[in-house]
């Protein structure tokens, strides 16, 4: 699946230039680096485009009936769950940052389940349509909503091919300090940006590992030594609606 890797960055030339420079500066021997890639960025440093975060999901390992990733996201970011404060909204209106989707092949009856969330596109349609610039793609590829400038027009929800975004219809209470959410704004998976900034992994990936399913791998798509890049090279990873050419950061195996 070398095709997939080629598509990881449409500005491949730029990436190769950077990679060459990094290798020249830090590599003392093939595969041995002076700097550890696991070190978290310092809290006062701006996020850069040297990394691009992504998740590779192996649908063969994703167990039907398990929704550990969904409930972990609910707990982490304070949406849904038993103490859902969206009391006046119906199930379709309530926030849904990540959902389990079941695919069934009609001919064979073979069922596959997978978690579907914001795919963190390289060219996100939600960012294209946003009239205020609230919907934006961070330098490291995480697609976010700046709720301070979101006017709640919901164009992005219309534009998203993955139905990944939700709109908050009512006053909320007791939000998490690390995941502010509020009435009149659109929200979606943040790839647990508050954890990622501290060198952590998203809550869904962690929960999947805790269930011993290990269907999700999180990492830097630009670092060829990262687990996700190595697995992508070995097994490949498909984009959902690859025909749209969005170059998603979330990839799937086995679909």
């Amino acid at each position: 699946m070398s095709d997939t890797n080629k598509q990881m960055n449409s500005a491949r030339r730029e990436f190769l230039g950077k990679a060459g420079a990094t290798a020249g500066a830090a590599a003392i021997a093939p595969g041995v680096f002076l700097t550890s890639p696991a070190v978290a960025r310092s809290a006062d440093k701006k996020v850069t485009g040297d990394k691009r975060w992504g998740i590779l999901i192996d649908t063969a390992k994703c167990a039907g009936g398990c929704d550990a990733c969904v409930s972990a996201c609910e707990t982490e970011n304070g949406w849904g769950g038993a103490d859902n404060t969206e009391k006046h909204s119906n199930a379709e209106q309530q926030a849904q940052w990540i959902r389990k989707v079941q695919l069934k092949e009609k001919a064979t009856g073979h069922a596959t389940t997978l978690p579907l969330m914001c795919q963190h596109c390289e060219t996100p349609p939600c960012v294209d349509v946003c009239p205020t610039g609230a919907s934006f793609r961070r330098a490291d590829g995480i697609v976010l909503v700046d709720k301070h400038i979101c006017i709640g027009c919901r164009y992005c929800m219309m534009a998203c091919p993955y139905k990944a975004r939700s709109f908050i219809h009512e006053d909320l209470k007791d939000q998490k300090p690390w995941a502010p959410r509020g009435k009149g704004t659109v929200e979606s998976c943040t790839l647990c940006v508050h954890r990622v900034d501290e060198g952590g992994t998203p809550a869904c990936v962690e929960a999947c590992g805790a269930e011993n399913h290990n269907a999700m791998v999180f990492g830097d798509l630009y670092n060829e030594n990262s687990k996700i890049s190595q697995q992508l090279e070995q097994y490949g990873g498909k984009q959902i609606r690859a025909d749209l050419g969005l170059n998603t950061g979330v990839r799937y195996r086995g679909i």
């Binding site: 310092s42 809290a43 006062d44 996020v47 330098a139 976010l144 007791d174 300090p177 509020g182 704004t185």
Partner: protein, 178 residues
């Protein structure tokens, strides 16, 4: 003509003056009250030093706290800068107070640190429609002060912020103090 006018008007004017007597005396009492004197005093749980109570000098924070929070907000959301110095969460962690029942006071209560001024000044802030108005997790401000954030960076930011934003008021006050 003018005589009859006075004859009819004078008692009316006297009566009106009589009515104003109690009003005038109460206005006199009210007149001695200083602005903000009915504010509930809320004290932060932590002081940074004997001379500096908050992350910046108190006068600076009183006038420009909103600008510090605004800058920090954009840096955090767009650039992923998560220093704790001007983080709204740390404002809350430090300034939150508990009521008689031992529970933290929410922002709807005028005793809440932010509400205590904003209610009086009738300034409607919408921070807490999304953000937590009470402490949720332990403060990590001390960590960023000692480790993560270089002191020079913080000072640079502070001086830049105050350079950009301080009102002339601050400058005048400084010169008066000197």
């Amino acid at each position: 003509m003018s005589q009859s006018f006075l004859f009819y008007r004078v008692p009316g004017v006297l009566f009106a003056l009589l009515l104003m007597v109690p009003l005038a005396s109460s206005a006199d009492e009210e007149g001695h009250r200083l602005p903000f004197s009915d504010l509930v005093k809320t004290e932060p749980t932590r002081h940074f030093s004997a001379t500096q109570e908050c992350v910046e000098p108190e006068d600076e924070m009183k006038r420009n706290h909103m600008n510090y929070i605004l800058h920090q907000r954009d840096k955090t959301v767009h650039d992923g800068i998560r220093t704790r110095q001007y983080s709204l969460e740390e404002c809350i962690n430090c300034h939150a107070i508990k009521g008689e029942d031992g529970e933290y006071i929410r922002v709807e209560d005028p005793r809440h640190f932010c509400a205590s001024c904003h209610t009086y000044a009738s300034v409607s802030i919408d921070c807490f429609q999304c953000h937590a108005d009470i402490p949720v997790r332990e403060s990590t401000l001390h960590q960023s002060q000692s480790g993560n954030v270089d002191r020079s960076v913080r000072e640079k930011l502070a001086s830049r912020l105050s350079g950009e934003l301080s009102l002339q008021l601050v400058a005048t006050e400084v010169s008066v103090n000197e």
